[in-house]
Structures are given as structure tokens and as C-alpha cells.
Symmetry: C2
Subunit: 424 residues, 2 copies
């Protein structure tokens, strides 16, 4: 069964999506967020996933600089949804494991077993200035992330399922034999435990990850339930799919234990032509300065001095930055892009795959990817809201359902069940 | 106008409240929490306030060791309430200011201006073991808290009210002239800012505090909007009230800028006699071991070796621990209590004032306190739920309303408005 996530990124994944006529234009409007999530639930999506950053990123994606904190937002959305999973980013570099473990266990209780933690190491160095520190090197961030995740899962395991007895007659509230401290002592963390919240409905909330570097993929292969990926075409996706599943197996896990979901920004029209017109209208809203800012951010290099209509330069690439940069630069080389072509691509979906066409075209393409093992499903990134989402739900989802690759209703009550994952 | 908060503490403030027939017996049941908060809103309470601790405190108040994380819980409650304020504790010792500022601004948006931050330094040393550190000394905690709160309010002020313009025509999303970095450099924190969320509906969410020590009172006098207090009788309350208002004035603030709310556990019966029977039944559910554990915690001294029926010993008191200890020990001395008397008191309300009687008795007493400047209102601590709350709302609240000291409906939409505080 194909799995679908809704990737919530500001008012839409397209950097200028908020300028589209009728689109929602701010990401601090809880009614708009709730309605978006309810649409995704009506479309039987597996989950909503909310990315995060830890500084006001005014230059690269403005609506993303003025946004909800993810845990409070999703805890609120939990009250107006019943089946859709609720995934949020919390940083392993700028948080501590006791707090992270506790918040996701709490969200898991609040939502009846629908919480997912997207463990990221925080790529952007700008975050560090808000936390009074310098941004740790890539390798150090990943070393810390490995230990961080072990502490979090360890804390989730401190309470056995039936440790809370609340036996009115005997007066025993907690069966202390079933409550275990963690007593973790490591390089980065000393954490005694146990958590001050019992084992949550999923046992362990779902863990998602998106790291594309070698240490990132290793971390995901060992610890993730869902892997988000950045790819630009089906061959790249198949290759990444195979690699991820192999790496998972190398850790003694079943390849089915990990769900591989590339990100995709679908632009759906009544015809292929109309879809391209929508995308073209969206691109028309992008200022050159904004686009270059975003491009510089995604490539990790200041691009403002380059000629927009010249070729994409051969950049000295830091392979430890976003996996976006390598994927995009490879595509630019393959397709002889100018810098303007590249920024148009980046403005759309920040380096993710853009799939433009009629509902039939989009559905057929996604089915081909799914059936030829390029993906277990997709992280859907609507360019703007609500239209960029409703056109997908009304046009594409029914075609996926008719083809028998996507659910017509939720089979389980927890996110783990709906993702087809083993018990947490 | 009198102000009322509902102090949510596990399944009730009485340590054995969960054993009361029909009471809710776990604090990870979101439906029960929502219903409780909706009851308080129907009773026109100003706010719900959720205390917090950062370790599984199994020995002193068991239902409190198995509980929601406050921010996720209140963000969810926001979806099923419309007027009641939502206050939560976050620690200035075990959190960082960027995250705290952001979470409360987010909750403030989510709730339409109903968020309140209870800034605490975390009294219990046990928390430190979950954060890989040693518990800082009292003076150091308060020094950090002073700076922490300044950073948080500074971050709340980074965005001017109309900095987010989202002008579709010009493509300007943020008016950067109205967005100011914080550039704080201090002893404990370096924080660049701005926050990645605009100015929230209240501007600054309400700040509450409960510190009873001299540095705690100083911090509250300078920075708090609401002060919670531990008192055992009206004379103590009047004296504390006068002190707090004086200290506030010494910082150049108006005494009306701070709302003084003692905690009280009301036990309401149809008659005074029935109320005492309810309390007596509750006390009958307390195990001796649990009570001594709680007593040791509140006094900061291991009491297990003392004779329960002997006098309360003259304890070497750390004046920097809970203000509970000094208040309770003073009462014990005044009233010649045995240790058993004292633990009965502590088991009820953890050292807070217990007010037992008919609705008439309870209302009359609260009105006397309010009208003679012993309190601006009360932080109500129901011994168990829901009955311990509904008896108050059905019996006491209408009498307060008839007397004209308590609202019949909410006058404002934000918590600041309902508390009668100046704009944040």
C-alpha cells in the first residue's frame, strides 16, 4: 500500500505560494492549519509532517519565518482530527532528549497513538546564534544524534505497558517493579530516567528522518521508521530506494521496517497544459532577490555574484550540507541548466521533485514510481493552500484508490498501524 | 473583581484524590482533562494553570508522576475552549529562552491570546539527573531566571505588531524595518533573535510566578503579572499581600499590575459537616509511607525516622527551599501540631490552605479574604476530579457572582483582558 504524508511548510512549499490568488498567506492562522489537516485526513493521508527551523529565516522562504512551533500546533490539530498521523521536527542539536521524549509521548497520548518525531540535526548554522553556541560540525552533530535517539527510545521504554495500575483498593498507583530507570551515561548525555509519563499508545512514537549524507543515512538505517528523501527523477529514486533498503538490512532490520518517501510538489491542473500554467503563474511571483537567497541557502554558497543566464557554475561542494545541493547540481549538469533554470526549480519546491500535470498524469507517474520500487509513497508538498492540496486530493487520490494502491479508509487507529510498521 | 485559577495537579490536589469513588484516576486521559477545563470555563474561571516537574516523582504524589507535558496538553485544550486562560510551567533552569519564548507565543496564537507562562526555577534537585547536570544553587537559579525572563520578553518584543504584511501585490512578506534582532549578550545567555514567530495576540503572554523566597519575590515583583502564594490563614495572606504589592511598587510598577492569588484546596459539602466528612474520607486513603514521602519532599528533610505522634521537630530549615516549608512549620508551631497532623495537612494540598465547609461557608470566607485585601483571587486546587471541582462551581461560584465579586461572563477575549492587566 502506498503511503502519503502532507509536508506542511509555511503557507505552501512554493516560496511565493502565498501570493497565489485566494491562497492562505500566513502560517500563524490556526483555523487555516486545522482546515488543511482535516483536508489531508479526508484524503486518507497517513500523516501530516511539519518541518522546523530554529531561526527567523526571512530571506529564503518568508512565510516559513513566521510560523507555529510544531508541537503546540500538532497538539491542537489532534483535537480536530482522529486518524491522521502527526509528525514534527525536533532538533537533536538544539534540544535535550528528556524533553523530546516527553513531548512526543505526551502528543502520542493526546492523539491516541498518532505521534511521529522527525529527528534532525539542524542543518542551518544560523540556529546556533539563538542558543548561545556555535553550530557543531556535521560529524559531531551526527554523533550526538545517534546517542540522542538512543536516549529518547530508552526513555520511551522505561515504563512497561501496565506499570500504571491505579488500584483504588490497595492504593497502589504505580507498580514500581515495572518502572525502570534508564541510567544512561554517554559521551553527550547522562540521563537517569524514568520519564514522567507512562508508555504511550504506540509504545514508541514513529521516528522519521531525512538525512542524505552518509552519516545521516546510517543513522536512518539504524533508527528510523520512515525516511524522507530528495530526488529529482525515477532513476535517482530507485537507486536511493535500493540503497536505503540495503543499509537497513545491514543493521539486521527488515527492509519493510522502513518506509521510503521522496518529497514531491505536485502541481495538478485539469490538463497538463493548465498545470504548467499554474506553475508558471507561481514562478511569476518570485522575486529575483528572494530566489537567489533561497538558492544560496540550498547550495550553501553565496550565489548573488553569478550571472543568472549563464551556466550553473562548478561549485566546491560541501558534501556535508543539504543533500539538496548534490541532487540539484547533478540535475543541472545533466540538463545543461542556467542558474535561472535552477532557481526556478528551487523556488518551487526548495530542491524537491516538481511533478506537474493533469490528475491522470500525476497519478500515473506516482503509481509507476510506487510499482517499480522507486518509492513506498510520497511526502506531498502542495505549492500553496488550500487549492494546491485539494486539487491533489480530489483529482489524484481517487485515481490511486481506483488503481488499488491507496487506502479508501484508515485500517488502523495508530500511525504505526496505518504505516504497516511493527509495534513500537 | 476576584480572579480564579484552576490549579491542575495530577488527578487532583489531594495526594489520594484518585482513590475517591468515581474520581478520575489518571492524568494521561485527554478527554478527562478537556472535560475538567471545560467545567472551569463554564464556571468562568480566569485560567487553568498546570504545574510541572521534570522527573517521575513516584513517592510524593503518584498521579503527578504519570502526566502530560503541559504545553502539548494546553495546546490541545485550546481547541475545545474559547475564553479560559491557559497557563503552564516551564523551567528557567532546565529550558532555554528561545524555545520557551517561542512555545508560549505559539500557544498564544493557537488560543487567540490566552497563554500564560509560569516561570519557575525548579525546586527539586531530582530534575538535574535527567538533564545530565547538577542542580544549581538557589541563588544561581534565580540569577539565571532574572536574565532568562528578560530574554524571553525581549524575544516577544522583536516583532512589531504589524511587521508581517504579506502584501500580495508588492510581494513583500515581512517589513524588515519592523523586525528587530535581540542581540542579547549576558552572563547566562547569548541570544541573537528575532523569534521565528510574529508578535502574538497578547503581545507578551501573561507571566506568573510562585517564588516565596526573597530572590523569588524580587523576581516576581519585577517581572510577574500574577503571583501565586502559599498561605495558611488570613493574617498570613494579608501580610504577604501587602509585601508583594509594596515590592511591586518598589520596581516602579503599579500594585494593580500584579494579581495576588493564594492557593486553596476547597472541600465543599452540602453542610460544613459533610465537607469535613469528605476530607476525612480522603485522608483515610492516604498511606503512611506516602504521606511521609510527601512530607519529606515538602520540608526538604527526610522525616521517616521521626515519631508520627510526637511533636513536629525543630528543623534546621533551608530558607531557600520551598516556601511551603516555612509556612507549614510556622503553622505547626502555632497550633502545636503532631507530625501526623502536619502530614494530614500536606497530604491534602501539599502545604496549601485547605478550606473545608458548605458552599456558603467557603464563599463567605473567600469573599472576606478578597474584600479585606488578603487576596485578589484564588488558585483553586480541587482535591479530586470532577466532583471536587463541580461542587465548587455549582455551589461557591454562584454565591460569589450574587455578591458581585465575580464575573457572570467573560468581559474580554484575551487572558490579559480578563485579568484586568495592562497590554503586554
Amino acid at each position: 500500500m502506498m503511503h502519503l504524508g502532507l509536508f506542511l511548510l509555511g503557507t505552501g512549499s512554493h516560496v511565493a505560494g502565498w501570493r497565489y490568488p485566494g491562497a492562505i498567506d500566513r502560517f500563524t492562522d490556526i483555523e487555516a492549519v486545522r482546515k488543511t489537516c482535516q483536508l489531508a485526513e479526508a484524503g486518507k493521508f497517513d500523516f501530516i509532517f511539519m518541518g522546523d527551523n530554529l531561526h527567523a529565516d526571512v530571506t529564503t522562504h518568508p512565510s516559513y519565518a513566521a510560523r507555529f512551533e510544531p508541537m503546540t500546533m500538532l497538539a491542537n490539530v489532534a483535537a480536530v482530527t482522529s486518524h491522521i498521523g502527526l509528525g514534527a521536527t525536533m532538533s537533536t542539536t538544539y534540544s535535550d532528549p528528556f524533553t523530546v521524549a516527553r513531548m512526543f509521548a505526551s502528543l502520542d497520548f493526546i492523539s491516541g497513538g498518532r505521534a511521529a518525531w522527525n529527528a534532525v540535526t539542524t542543518a542551518s548554522p544560523a540556529a546556533s546564534a539563538n542558543f548561545g553556541t556555535t553550530h557543531p560540525a556535521h560529524s559531531s552533530r551526527y554523533e550526538r544524534a545517534e546517542e540522542f535517539i538512543d536516549v529518547v527510545t530508552g526513555l520511551w521504554d522505561c515504563w512497561e505497558k501496565d506499570a500504571l495500575v491505579a488500584d483504588r483498593k490497595s492504593g497502589i498507583y504505580i507498580d514500581e517493579a515495572k518502572l525502570h530507570p534508564l541510567k544512561h551515561k554517554g559521551k553527550f548525555f547522562d540521563v537517569e530516567g524514568p520519564l514522567n509519563i507512562p508508555r504511550s499508545p504506540q509504545g514508541r512514537p514513529v521516528i522519521t528522518q531525512a538525512g542524505g549524507s552518509a552519516p545521516g543515512r546510517k543513522l536512518a538505517a539504524r533508527t528510523a521508521d520512515v525516511v524522507f528523501s530528495v530526488v529529482q527523477d525515477i532513476d535517482e529514486a530507485r537507486s536511493a530506494y535500493t540503497t536505503v533498503k540495503q543499509e537497513v538490512a545491514e543493521f539486521g532490520r527488515s527492509p519493510d521496517d522502513v518506509t521510503f518517501l521522496p518529497g514531491v510538489m505536485p502541481v495538478v491542473g485539469r490538463t497538463d497544459r493548465e498545470a504548467f500554467e499554474i506553475l508558471s503563474e507561481l514562478q511569476g511571483y518570485v522575486g529575483e532577490k528572494d530566489a537567489l537567497g533561497l538558492l544560496s541557502d540550498r547550495l550553501g554558497t553565496d550565489m548573488s555574484a553569478y550571472d543568472l543566464d549563464g551556466p550553473v557554475p562548478d561549485l566546491q561542494q560541501a558534501d556535508t550540507y543539504h543533500s539538496f545541493s548534490s541532487v540539484m547540481l547533478a540535475k543541472a549538469k545533466r540538463e545543461n541548466m542556467t542558474l535561472r533554470d535552477l532557481y526556478n526549480l528551487v523556488a518551487s519546491a526548495r530542491g524537491h521533485w516538481v511533478l506537474c500535470g493533469s490528475a491522470e498524469t500525476v497519478a500515473t507517474t506516482l503509481i509507476e514510481w510506487f510499482e517499480t520500487r522507486a518509492a513506498d509513497g510520497f511526502n506531498i508538498m502542495p505549492p500553496y493552500l488550500y487549492g494546491g492540496l485539494t486539487s491533489f486530493i480530489e483529482g489524484v487520490v481517487p485515481r490511486l484508490q481506483e488503481h488499488g494502491v491507496f487506502r479508501s479508509d484508515y485500517a488502523g487507529t495508530t500511525l504505526r498501524e496505518n504505516l504497516g510498521l511493527h509495534e513500537g
